[in-house]
Amino acid sequence: MAMPPTEVSATLAEPQLGPDTGPRGNRQWQIFWSSPLAWVGLGLTVFMVLFSFVGPLVYTVNPNATHLTHILVGPSSRFPLGTNALGRDELARLMKGGQLTLIIGFIAAALSMVFGTIYGLASALAGGFTDVLMMRIIDVLLAIPGLFLLLLLDSMFTPNAVLLTAIFAGTAWFGVTRLVRSEALSVRTRDYVEAARSMGAGTWRIMLRHLLPNVMGVVLVTTTFQVAGAILGIATLSFLGLGLPPPTPNWGAELSNAMTSMFQGAWWVIYPPGLCIVFIELGVNFLGDAVRQAFDPRLLGN
């Protein structure tokens, strides 16, 4: 079950509310909740989560059942969003198709956040040659066009949900790492870190207690946008025929099917799947912008 974004935010918020940054952390959440972007974003996201997870409980039609006498028929009382070129109920497929997309998107973003943060902090703390080497590796990985990398990894294996999550998490953390490292480098030399070190605090303690809470803002901002990136990536791979194998429904795969019936004027297979993707992307991007307004240290002064 994908965590709704509120829960994600709540878990991430805890370090902010610790004794180190308490008042400032609260203030940032106040800024966040006072932004209309946050509410609209949350609304859209929750709507799509409900559509995908509660929808199939209400509209209990088998998304994989084919109705051979009803191939590509328009919306009717029996098929609210019509059927696709294989005679499958479009609405049921869109609802079911959202489930894995959302789960994979949120988990992949969370995993890449954790890994990217650890790598970035480790690199900043190590310093010297190790730091240079670790960042050079990131340079190389960042240079490869993301979709090429996804395509390649995906085509090598037979995709399943776990593998897709791993691939998205594995290709999304480079950017976070860079940001975390540069944030951590600027924090590392502050007096209070020096003080902690002089009192005998170990590397791990400095990392977890002193650096981590300070880079959380940057991490939170990037992670939100990464959820959007991962969801778009899943849709794109599925569109290219490299997502979960059929008949597993997916928004991108539905659009790929729609291309075969492009000349039949079947608008109901072209617009709804695209709108599903746009709604969740809009929702997450709005949330991301609201989070950035509240947490990005470069914007805090304004």
Binding site: L147, F148, L151, L152, L232, L240, A258, M262, G274, E281
Partner: protein, 316 residues
């Protein structure tokens, strides 16, 4: 300046070497090699072994990398397993197509974003600003492939203004005119998606610029509003977009892949996509490598351009 350029080139070398290692590793650590893809489900172990021997895939990984890298230095990217042609020849045909799509979209997107963003910043919080921002949010959240499909459905199927795909119809003479005609929809799809991302940056940048002291000075001197905008404000507000040049390069390449696949345009994206599915290792390795090198070059050019446009930065 000369020294700085040289220094940046030298810095790029380890990245490129890293790219060769990564692209090599990526395709060689996979289960099920090209032999299975070539021979199909009826492959016997003996025939698989024979194919692997013929392709040199039975050698130790390190030797295979050595051979590949050595050939690479001689600009020999190997022979495609499936097209049975030199990879360099295939790429020679495909790369210009992609560079054209990406290049034209890039220039168009940049131009449109600069104009839109400037107008938005100038009439900040006006109706124009708000409507462009909303439309951009929508376009920005739209998957590139859906946008391409919609353009295809609207302007090639419903209103058959443009061709549905390919670079040239088989029964017509191919020249620059037909080529441009076929490029309209692919380039439009890629451009619209890119503009949505950039106009925001341009709006922010122009907003920051318009409140600077030298703009007030220029106005106080009695310069015309157009002169203030075009001579004084633009040059500085375009700076962040140049940095984005390097940053967005990989994204646009990914976008080109999708567009090429939808409009069936024989560029690098389609070549890579088909090669990845068929496990045509030499093409895939070359594509990842070339894509990566282009991104490195993009970053380099962005760095140097930045220095040219911004006199405050000197490369001593």
């Amino acid at each position: 300046m000369g020294r700085y350029v040289l220094q940046r080139f030298v810095q790029a070398i380890p990245t490129v070497i890293g790219l060769t290692i990564v692209s090599f590793m990526l395709v060689h650590i996979t289960p099920g090699g090209p032999a299975y893809a070539m021979l199909g489900p009826k492959a016997t172990p003996a025939r698989v072994a024979a194919v692997n021997r013929a392709l040199g895939l039975n050698l130790p990984l390190w030797d295979q990398y050595g051979i590949w890298a050595w050939q690479l230095l001689h600009l020999n990217l190997g022979t495609s397993y499936f097209y049975l042609q030199p990879v360099t020849k295939l790429i020679e045909q495909a790369l210009p197509v992609t560079l054209a799509i990406v290049g034209i979209s890039y220039v168009l997107a940049h131009g449109i974003a600069v104009v839109l963003g400037s107008i938005q910043a100038y009439f900040k919080n006006g109706w124009f600003d708000h409507s462009v921002t909303s439309v951009n949010y929508f376009l920005y959240s739209m998957p590139g492939f859906w946008l391409a499909i919609l353009l295809l459905v609207w302007f090639a199927v419903d209103i058959p203004l443009f061709p549905t795909g390919n670079l040239c119809d088989p029964n017509e003479v191919c020249n620059l005119g037909t080529w441009a005609y076929h490029m309209v929809l692919p380039v439009a799809s890629l451009t619209i998606g890119t503009v949505a991302g950039w106009a925001r940056y341009m709006r922010t940048s122009m907003t920051d610029t318009l409140v600077q002291d030298y703009i007030r000075t220029a106005r106080a001197k009695g310069l015309s509003e157009t002169r203030v905008l075009f001579k004084h404000a633009w040059r500085n507000s375009v700076l962040p977009l140049i940095t984005l040049l390097g940053y967005f390069f990989p994204t646009i390449f990914g976008g080109a892949l999708v567009v090429e696949e939808i409009f069936n345009i024989p560029g690098m994206g389609l070549l890579t996509f088909n090669a990845a599915i068929k496990r045509d290792y030499p093409i895939v390795m070359a594509a990842v490598l070339i894509g990566g090198i282009l991104v490195v070059i993009g970053n380099l050019v962005a760095d140097l351009l930045y220095g040219l446009v911004d006199p405050r930065i000197s490369y001593g």
